[in-house]
């Protein structure tokens, strides 16, 4: 596992670093972090356990084990990455291994939201773009890449790709307001109004409190 001093914080306008790629559609969160590692009351140890079973199966040849990819921070995947269980342990494990941005054809919805809540952008590209990127990374793992959130460009010395970062998440990352808690708490008066208008909290409250 790579040593990571800082987790994402504040404004996130760019993620730079080396990339690693992982092939395959529908890689579910059980594979990213098997359920037995969910027996924990903190996320701290998860970085070492990311893709544990897939890595054991491949006996050292899994991208997360290959020496050339150690220290990489941008993960390039295919379609529907992160499907299945809602476990935030999955992006937590990736983050604690060192991942700071993901690029793929598509992401499962809950996983995408969990990444955003940690300040990890998920950018999307076409199948052709992703294939080309994965080939480039495999051919030259030592390349430095940069994902610019504003321009949605992913670039290195060999070229530049136009990707998509959805407008909502983009705005949240660029403004540093991707951690929702404090914003939600700012609207407590509006929350009270909404609660006062809900029939099930007022007109016909349950028989037992």
């Amino acid at each position: 596992m790579t040593e990571i001093a800082f987790f994402p914080q504040g404004v996130i306008d760019q993620v730079s670093g080396r990339a690693l790629m992982l092939h395959g559609d529908d890689i579910d969160t059980d594979r990213i972090i098997p359920a037995r590692f969910l027996k924990c009351v903190s996320f701290e140890a998860l970085g070492n356990q990311v893709f544990e079973d897939d890595r054991l199966e491949l006996g050292g040849s899994h991208p997360f084990d290959l020496p050339v990819y150690q220290g990489a921070s941008i993960l390039i995947v295919n379609g529907n990455f992160g499907c299945g269980s809602s476990r935030e342990h999955a992006p937590q494990a990736l983050m604690r291994w060192g991942i700071r941005a993901l690029i793929g054809e598509s992401f499962a919805e809950i996983f995408y939201g969990n990444c955003l809540a940690l300040g990890i952008p998920c950018a999307t590209g076409s199948a052709d773009q992703i294939e080309a990127l994965q080939e480039s990374v495999a051919a030259e793992p030592s390349l430095s890449w940069s994902l610019n959130i504003q321009s949605q460009q992913f670039q290195s010395s060999i070229g530049s790709w136009d990707l998509q970062v959805d407008s909502g998440p983009r705005e949240m990352l660029l403004s540093g307001r991707w951690d929702a808690t404090s914003q939600l708490l700012e609207h407590d008066a509006a929350l009270k109004s909404a609660m006062a208008a809900l029939p099930y909290l007022n007109n016909f409250v349950a028989s037992v409190p």
């Binding site: 594979r31 992006p91 598509s106 809950i110 914003q183």
Partner: protein
């Protein structure tokens, strides 16, 4: 319904959505409570959060504390401490109301039409069966809901899944949803809620509708939804947390007003014919890799280019030959239970197959009721004795081998016939274990035969013309 729960617009265009019912359990809540404490925050509406313990509990002698597994014990005691500290109701072991979170909230009448329901568990889609907006969230969002009783959420598009006709004898809601997912794929639902409607859906019981909505997430849809109707109201009336007397009348009036307009426009619509669906079994490593029990494992050339890589991975992992029959495939372990199929009607359907028969030699078969209430109701009908006599183990409630966070797990390359919801690699506790998803009746039949079996062959007497299940 969405607008009624909207608190504010969030930066980036998402909605701050009020959460009417927040369900928590021991696996995805401890870090949320820690984060709350780190930020110096408290729980905004403890009376709207309800806790239970389900994922890590043993299903044998589960009230013996501390648990043999110290990590499991730590998780439960952390939940107990957090609930006590913040004044959150906990349906704990032996309380009479403990069970899988998606089983207990409906059976206690907590889940009601028109509510927003959130839980740190992807199968929260289950509660949409009542006409609520219900979805799974991650731990950061659990923290947000604890702190503010709301979360940031994007509005979903709606795909109506219209199902005509009626399910045949021996074909259940589980087969219907496996068929839908097989047809639409595992990612077609991303960005959508799946609204199930049509004559076949109207005819389903609440428990069957819960099975259907439970697995919407396996098709990529964060929410499942069924319009509330008389079936919904009949299910709710008299339950512990359901309104009574005048309040009940007011509730029914409001719930009835929520029903989607007959001519409502949907972002997408697909049609299925229930009568054409057969008992369905997954052969691969995603819930979309399913086939009718009398079909064969698809060959590579029958699949689209995009489906081929994962099919090849599935052939290898499952050790199945393309073109081979699924019927007759030997199994090792048979699991009846989970938030998908651990309710009383599921156990009854399995018991109807087990009755007067016996589990095949060498097969481990076990039944895990979805809740203490389900267990007591089943025992009152003698189902525990029936299962035991037939060679099935009768266990205590929990998530059990659906995700194998407790001692119930596959060993090595074992194959399970499972009434759960996910056949992912390693899902059932062995990194090389294999899972075949199917209905509880099909699991019961597999246990009897020791291999995948068409349950309809065991239901001949019950499937006479004119007799529906």
């Amino acid at each position: 319904m969405w607008d009624l729960h909207q608190v504010a617009e969030m930066p980036g265009g998402s909605t701050q959505l009020f959460v009417g019912l927040h369900l928590i359990h021991e696996v995805t809540s401890p870090q949320a409570f820690s984060a709350l404490q780190d930020k110096g925050l408290s729980v905004r509406c403890p009376e709207l959060t309800v806790a239970t313990v389900d994922h890590i509990v043993p299903t044998i002698n589960q009230q013996n504390r501390p648990f043999a597994d110290p990590l499991a014990e730590e998780m439960l005691s952390t939940l107990e401490q957090n609930c006590a500290k913040y004044g959150i109701a906990l349906h704990g072991l032996g309380s009479g109301s403990q069970g899988i979170v998606h089983v207990i909230a409906p059976e206690l009448g907590l889940t009601q039409p028109g509510m927003t329901v959130a839980c740190g568990d992807s199968h929260t889609s289950t509660h949409g069966a009542f006409g609520s907006i219900a979805f799974g969230i991650g731990t950061s969002q659990v923290r947000d809901v604890l702190a503010s009783q709301s979360l940031a959420m994007n509005k979903l598009k709606v795909r109506r899944i219209w199902v005509d006709g009626q399910l045949s004898c021996g074909v259940y809601a589980k087969d219907l949803i496996l068929h839908v997912i097989r047809s639409l794929g595992v990612k077609a639902g991303v960005g959508y809620a799946y609204e199930f409607a049509g004559p076949a859906i109207d005819a389903l019981s609440m428990e069957e509708r819960m099975t259907l909505c439970n697995m919407a997430i396996e098709g990529g849809a964060r929410c499942g939804y069924v319009n509330p109707d008389g079936v919904t109201f009949d299910y709710l009336q008299g339950r512990l947390h359901a309104p009574v007397a005048d309040a009940w009348q007011q509730a029914v009036a409001w719930w009835s007003s929520l029903v989607s307009d007959e001519n409502a426009l949907f972002d997408d619509e697909v049609h299925f014919d229930a009568a054409s669906i057969a008992p369905t079994v997954t052969w691969g490593i995603t819930p979309a890799q399913g086939i009718a029990v009398d079909e064969t494992v698809p060959t590579l050339d029958s699949l689209s280019l995009s489906e081929r890589p994962i099919a090849e991975e599935a052939y290898r992992y499952m050790d199945l030959e393309p073109g081979s029959a699924i019927e007759g495939l030997p199994v090792d372990v048979c699991f009846i239970g989970s938030c998908t199929n651990g309710r009383l009607s599921d156990l009854k359907a399995a018991a109807a197959i087990a009755k007067g028969r016996h589990v095949a030699k060498g097969i481990k078969a076990f039944v895990v009721p979805g809740s203490e209430k389900v267990a007591r109701a089943a025992e009152a009908e003698g189902l525990d004795d029936l299962f035991r006599a037939a060679g099935y183990e009768w266990r205590e409630p929990g998530c059990s081998m659906c995700l194998a966070m407790n001692p119930d797990r596959l060993d090595g390359r074992q194959i399970s016939a499972s009434s759960s919801n996910r056949n992912f690699k390693g899902r059932q506790g062995s990194s090389s274990g294999r899972t075949l998803l199917m209905s509880p009746a099909m699991v019961a039949a597999a246990a009897i035969a020791g291999q995948v079996t068409d349950v309809r062959t065991l239901l001949v007497k019950d499937c006479l013309p004119g007799k529906s299940q």
